[in-house]
């Protein structure tokens, strides 16, 4: 195993392949020591390094060169060295810097979570909850923009955007051409299509999934429901689009499929990108083959109301896999 690098993150050793970033090494360990990431997206090349929430302290550079790095580094873009020692939550300096970054991200954020569709599955909400201060020190008007429709199914609410550039990378790498990008600079920067052209291609809907906040939302789902009232169910269909394998998560409310998204892992990253037909047009149970319940972390607000107990959904009644899951859920909820 000599070709593996040994890294210690917050005192926990892990062996990773050379070229792995500190963030991915931490994800191999998992748990609380994983730095939060707002802009990094493992499926998108070149993403990361911008939001600065994943800053960590390298207290020992490597076995060969044990000097610590002079500044905090962005863990999503810094590759590990053999013998590197990293401090994340054990370093007060990192916690302080992260608090600062969260404050910066929030000073121009509208904090309209009560009316935002992303609430409940929003990375910024989680981050603010963990690291943010209860009160803001910012006493000026916040930056606002008009909502614009970029494409007939996608709405852009720039006011909420944290400029992570993920959607730009998605359009570059997943779709065949990109027509939206960053205009202007500094804190006037905005994502836009410049002359209000519509984003129109088969994979454009993925920008909704990669958006860490509620800036890009699905117009077929906007204001339909809170995500924690819906129940995620894994399903697939035989999609005839060559780039899409049709594996999705359906979000049920009652017997209706309210929205379709790609399957997201614990870090909010999709497992595989899906096409717009699957996402926007197939909203009947009969379009899909149900696989079973989607596991959502117990920490998430979405799992709080995962399966109704008294009145199972019509879809649960007819599907043995879901019935079984419903029973487990019911037992867990009623144990106390």
């Amino acid at each position: 195993m000599s070709d593996k690098f040994k890294v210690t993150i917050d005192g926990i050793p892990v062996e990773v392949d050379p070229g792995t970033t500190i963030l991915n090494a931490a994800r191999q360990i998992g748990g609380d020591i994983v730095p939060p990431a707002m802009c990094y997206y493992s499926k998108l090349q070149g993403s990361g390094g911008k939001c600065r929430t994943c800053l960590v302290k390298v207290s020992k550079g490597s076995e060969k060169d044990p000097r610590p790095m002079p500044k905090l580094v962005a863990s999503c873009r810094t590759t590990v060295m053999d013998g590197m020692e990293v401090q994340n939550i054990t370093s007060p300096e990192v916690i302080e810097a992260r608090k600062g970054v969260v404050e910066m991200l929030l000073i121009n954020h509208p904090l309209d979570c009560p009316i935002c569709d992303q609430a409940g599955e929003c990375d910024l909400q989680n981050l603010g909850f963990e690291h943010g201060a209860a009160k803001t020190r910012y006493e000026f008007d916040r930056r606002t923009f008009h909502k614009i429709d970029i494409g007939d199914k996608i709405q852009l609410h720039m006011t909420r955007c944290i400029l992570c550039y993920r959607c730009v990378f998605t359009a570059d790498q997943i779709t065949d051409h990109r027509i939206h990008g960053i205009l202007n600079r500094g804190d006037h920067s905005e994502i836009s299509t410049y002359i209000q052209a519509a984003v129109d291609n088969d994979f454009s809907g993925n920008v909704i999934d990669v958006c860490p906040v509620g800036a890009l939302t699905d117009k077929t789902f906007r204001f339909r429901n809170r995500v924690w009232f819906t129940k995620p169910v894994e399903a697939h269909r035989d999609c005839d689009h060559p780039g899409c394998n049709g594996k999705v998560t359906l979000w049920y409310k009652g017997e209706d499929v309210l929205r379709v998204t790609a399957r997201k892992d614990v870090y909010g990253e999709v497992e595989e990108f899906i096409c717009n037909t699957c996402r926007f047009d197939k909203k009947k149970t009969s379009d899909w083959v149900i696989e079973g319940p989607r596991k959502v972390s117990n920490q998430s607000v979405i799992s709080a109301n995962h399966y109704e107990t008294m009145h199972p959904l019509p879809v649960v009644k007819t599907n043995p896999v879901l019935q079984e899951a419903n029973k487990e859920q019911f037992e867990r909820e009623t144990r106390l």
Partner: protein, 453 residues
């Protein structure tokens, strides 16, 4: 009277034309260098101890030796002429009056690095200088100093001038490369450093105009000879662009190690403070370095006379020192308002932040708003602590040094001129009516000094 290396012939009429420049010994270094081995030129520059003149002061020879040299991959030299730091105008001066010096330096440096295509990235606002450089390049090409087979040595070099799009951030080397590639000028995340993967993914060296120009005297006279000028690790001469309330603003070439008092008050250089006023504060190296009050600027905290050198100006760290930076020397007389000045600098950084990483994008705007409030009489006593805290949150946490550059002037102004900020809060009416300055910073330091840790 220091020796002039770069500006020796600056007053010769017609020095901006090839023939006059050549008759004054110009392009001799090209003839000499083409007979040398490229590695010897790099060694020569290393020996000279030349440090990057763009602001950071990184040894140029060292930077050159880091350049990766994989087989079959082009290498590039890019000259950073995107001089936009408030207070700095030395590169523009050099390009306007003696453009061939830069071109000569570019040829020698490109040869040393093995680059066959080199670029001069000029700030977009400097259109006249772009025209001057293009004319000079055409002249040099005509005489066989550029193009194919230079002076029969078999070495080819194409030199291009690229106008920038008008952003301060494009002076950051990786943002400059992005811009040169035709993309949005966002700084890249390092590593990889440009020496490994720079322009078009190829190894690239980015140097300041003055650094490249300084290669000419180094080759002409030898690195050791050059290293005799200056003091300690600050070797050679430096162009200082003096501005503000001095009697004779302008670009001066000084030997590094010149006492600041001499630079400021002697008739050869700035000639003292204009209108018989007293010096209050100095920004020694362009807007991004910490501002110092007169008493701390003329003498270090230990009571030694401060010199114009990388080390002496940085003496005392950020507590009581500053930096040489890019040589934009701004002097303030006793009537100038530091709060307004700080607000003005921050306004600049707010405007020029690229918006890529969050601390700088949001923090510069926040600081600007708070400083604006202070300057216009709506400030609070807690604002000073808020500003210091915000600047700390930005400093060191950003992708590129613009965040640091935005944070330092604010932090240092509050550190050294806190009572002036407080005066703006307690006397809002007066503060809005006149340009206020507390004059006592011009006084010498009291006898009992606070020992700096």
């Amino acid at each position: 009277m220091g020796r002039k290396l770069l500006l020796e012939h600056i007053n010769v009429p017609g020095i901006n034309t090839f023939d006059v420049y050549r008759s004054k010994g110009g392009y001799a270094s090209v003839e000499k260098a083409l007979k040398m081995a490229p590695n010897d030129i790099v060694e020569e520059v290393k020996k000279s101890g030349l440090r990057g003149r763009g602001g950071a002061g990184f040894p140029t020879g060292m930077k050159w030796s880091f350049l990766a040299k994989p087989e079959g991959v082009a290498r590039y030299l890019v000259c950073n002429a995107d001089e936009s730091e408030p207070g700095t105008f030395k590169d523009r001066y050099l390009m306007t009056y003696i453009p061939h010096l830069l071109i000569e330096g570019m040829i020698v440096s490109s040869f040393a690095l093995g680059a066959n295509t080199s670029y001069i990235y000029v700030r977009g606002e400097m259109m006249p200088q772009i025209r001057i450089l293009e004319k000079a390049i055409a002249e040099a090409k005509n005489k066989g100093f550029l193009g194919k087979n230079i002076l029969g040595s078999g070495y080819d070099l194409e030199l291009y001038v690229q106008p920038g799009g008008g952003a301060y951030i494009c002076g950051e080397e990786t943002a400059l490369l992005e811009s040169l590639e035709g993309k949005r000028g966002n700084p890249r995340i390092k590593p990889p450093f440009p020496a490994i993967a720079g322009l078009y993914g190829c190894p690239t060296v980015v140097n300041n105009v003055e650094s490249i120009a300084a290669v000419v005297p180094i080759i002409n006279e030898g690195g050791e000879e050059y290293a005799k000028l200056g003091i300690g690790r600050s070797t050679g001469t430096k162009l200082i662009s003096a501005g503000g309330n001095v009697k004779k603003p302008g670009v001066y070439e000084i030997d590094l190690g010149l006492p600041v008092e001499e630079f400021l008050y002697s008739d050869e250089y700035c000639g003292g403070i204009a209108n018989g006023k007293r010096l209050k504060a100095v920004v020694a190296g362009g807007s991004s370095v910490p501002i110092l009050p007169a008493n701390l600027f003329l003498k270090t905290a230990n009571g030694e006379a401060r010199l114009m050198s990388y080390e002496s100006l940085a003496d005392g760290g950020f507590v009581s020192g500053t930096m040489l930076g890019s040589g934009g020397f701004i002097a303030y007389d006793e009537d100038q308002c530091i709060v307004r000045n700080t607000w003005n600098f921050t306004r600049f950084y707010h405007h020029e932040s690229c918006g890529q990483c969050s601390p700088c994008r949001e923090g510069t705007g926040w600081m600007e708003k708070v400083l604006h409030r202070l300057e216009y009489g709506h400030g609070k006593m807690s604002d000073m602590d808020l500003l210091v805290d915000v600047s700390k949150k930005i400093e060191g946490n950003t992708i590129c040094p613009l965040g640091d550059a935005a944070a330092w002037p604010v932090a240092s102004a509050i550190r050294h001129f806190r009572d002036e900020f407080e005066w703006h809060v307690t006397n809002p009416g007066e503060a809005t009516k006149r340009n206020f300055g507390l004059a006592h910073y011009a006084d010498p330091l009291p006898k009992v000094e606070t020992k700096v840790a």
